[in-house]
Symmetry: C2
Subunit: 348 residues, 2 copies
């Protein structure tokens, strides 16, 4: 696969993002939703922050308290033998799991698609009991002049997908929980097909340990059903561990092209692949790439908060190119281009 | 709590049910959906069958093969050290989990509500890839002359909830997957509230290990959204481990009464409790029983395929009594009555 990576990569790093509070530090700016707005490229970044600690023996965890309607800090002693700090992303108590960071969403804009100005303040932050540990990995779908934003909400109740909408990226309307725990990596198609809205979803089966891609339809974007399993993991390939939708699907002459992510069972190394879905019956898969179209190779993709990851929430399909804005090593944003024809050639 | 148990209990046992094939044995007849139909009490039983094995060293597992459209038998050697037979309900391989039995749904009818005639043949059986390991635990909701039946579908893709409907309990229409993995113990309310259908659901969060009750609404019974967390486990009580809706809710002067099930974290002992929901805003819980209204006490509730279980999929609310048809020890059906007033007195 012939991939062009921007020599400016990473195009956005944590240091480019102002913390939301003086006692917070931005550790990741990644997994952005992507759209064009007012002629500019607009990224809706996931910004992960940790609470700074003066005491190296204390981990300070930010949590949204929905009753107090503010972020509170919970302290954990690193000497406490009942606590498990082995994964940098979480702290496990005997009965509970906390995230070490809390994520919000923040806008970045660019005229050239490479050099971005990041907003000084968060765009959307945790606002209810479903968002206790933050909001993550937004996808932006433009339908009839309204930008619909779905995002993962993390709480001790589980991982849900919620929906919001905006026309101007200034005011946002919240529409509640659209997919039950655990479900993330949802992508809403940009137009109705046969009179219905469609979305890719990624339920997580606790009983059978499956994280695979399903498709649903809806009359109103809020209520979803007609669930069908669309595609799964492949035991002998790079996507043997789990798969999920990544970019909002876009229509080509051949059908709907979906850039998805997968990771392997042994190393949990995240790559991007592609599937082609029937234009009129998107629950029918017409083809799938054998190999990744993008995989972690550069230093900024291999090393970071969680290494060996390329992960994507949106692309721009322009000028015969698929312009991929992607999170690298769960830390920063990077940019790559692949010709649309090259991708279609390997998914047919 | 003043509970009347029928002296005829158990009212239906596995030996009362004819196997669906000569090489199968019925091991459980339990967790029936309940309704009145043509003046009779109609139970839609869950019937679990195992494949008989002539060789005690071979476990024979029935699996629905959706490509061949028939049940096939998969043999497992009990000497194989890679296999785990420690739970009577499942066989675990290093990467997969199989159920030792396969369930279908079967009608039983009674004029007096105690003495039942069980149909000779199954009513509904596995019919697609979501039902590979069987269909289970039906709930029946009568709406405008149509009986809607939702049931749990077990497959290696996960545990989903599917919907079917019938007007005559002779022909059934399938409506597909209405809740994504893992979700079971769904109860559809018997009338629209404020112009919408409502259902209780029980998603299973893999990431946060929560099995609790949510509520959703729908325009058409097929597509569900506006998901809200309704009630959870209580760490110091009998329902500390998991909770789920059980009976189809019914309307009282005080609000919607829901008989739910819960089990404790240590012993996984299943009891029934009650919650009262607001008549017009059913996502508001008005009260909840501190203690179980029914708990495993008799021999047939304590000993069986999975002991110390009372589990319920439907009740009849008649003559001031809540008539509870329930599965006992995951093996047989039993009957109990509790006065409606007694239940309302403890949930207010």
């Amino acid at each position: 696969m012939n991939v062009y990576r921007s020599p400016e990569n990473p195009i956005i790093e944590p240091k480019d993002v102002k913390p939301s509070r003086p006692d917070f530090e931005v550790v990741c700016a990644f997994n952005a939703g992507v759209t064009r707005f007012n002629g500019e490229v607009l990224l809706l970044l996931r910004v992960a922050e940790v609470a700074k600690s003066d005491d190296p023996k204390i981990a300070r965890v930010p949590i949204y308290d929905h009753e107090r309607k503010e972020i509170i800090i919970k302290d954990f002693s690193k000497d406490d033998k009942n606590l498990d700090f082995s994964d940098s992303r979480v702290i496990r108590t005997p009965n509970e799991k906390y995230l070490t960071s809390i994520s919000h969403l923040r806008i970045a804009r660019s005229k050239d698609g490479i050099h971005f100005t990041v907003d000084e303040a968060p765009t959307m932050t945790s606002a209810n009991e479903y968002e206790m540990f933050g909001i993550e990995d937004p996808r932006i779908t433009l339908i009839d002049g309204t930008y619909y934003i779905n995002f993962s909400c993390i709480a001790n109740l589980g991982v849900t997908t919620c929906l919001a909408s905006t026309k101007d990226f200034t005011t946002f309307e919240r529409h509640g929980v659209i997919f039950l725990p655990d479900n993330k990596d949802v992508e809403i198609f940009p137009e109705k097909i046969g009179g219905k809205y469609y979305a890719l979803t990624r339920p997580d089966s606790r009983s059978y340990k499956r994280r695979e891609v399903w498709i649903a339809d809806s009359p109103d974007l809020l209520r979803w059903g007609s669930h069908r399993h669309l595609f799964g993991t492949r035991h002998d390939k790079w996507d043997s561990g789990k798969v999920g939708g990544s970019a909002v699907p876009f229509l080509t002459d051949e059908g709907w092209l979906e850039i998805y992510h997968g990771s392997d069972k042994v190393h949990d190394r995240y790559c991007l692949g592609a599937v082609l879905l029937d234009k009129n019956e998107p629950w029918k898969m017409l083809g799938r790439s054998d190999n990744p179209i993008l995989e972690p190779e550069t230093d900024y993709e291999i090393h970071g908060f969680y290494g060996n990851v390329v992960f994507n929430c949106g692309v721009l399909n322009e000028d015969g190119k698929v312009k991929i804005y992607y999170g690298a090593a769960d830390t920063c944003m990077a940019y790559a281009e692949i010709s649309l024809k090259d991708i279609l050639d390997i998914v047919r």
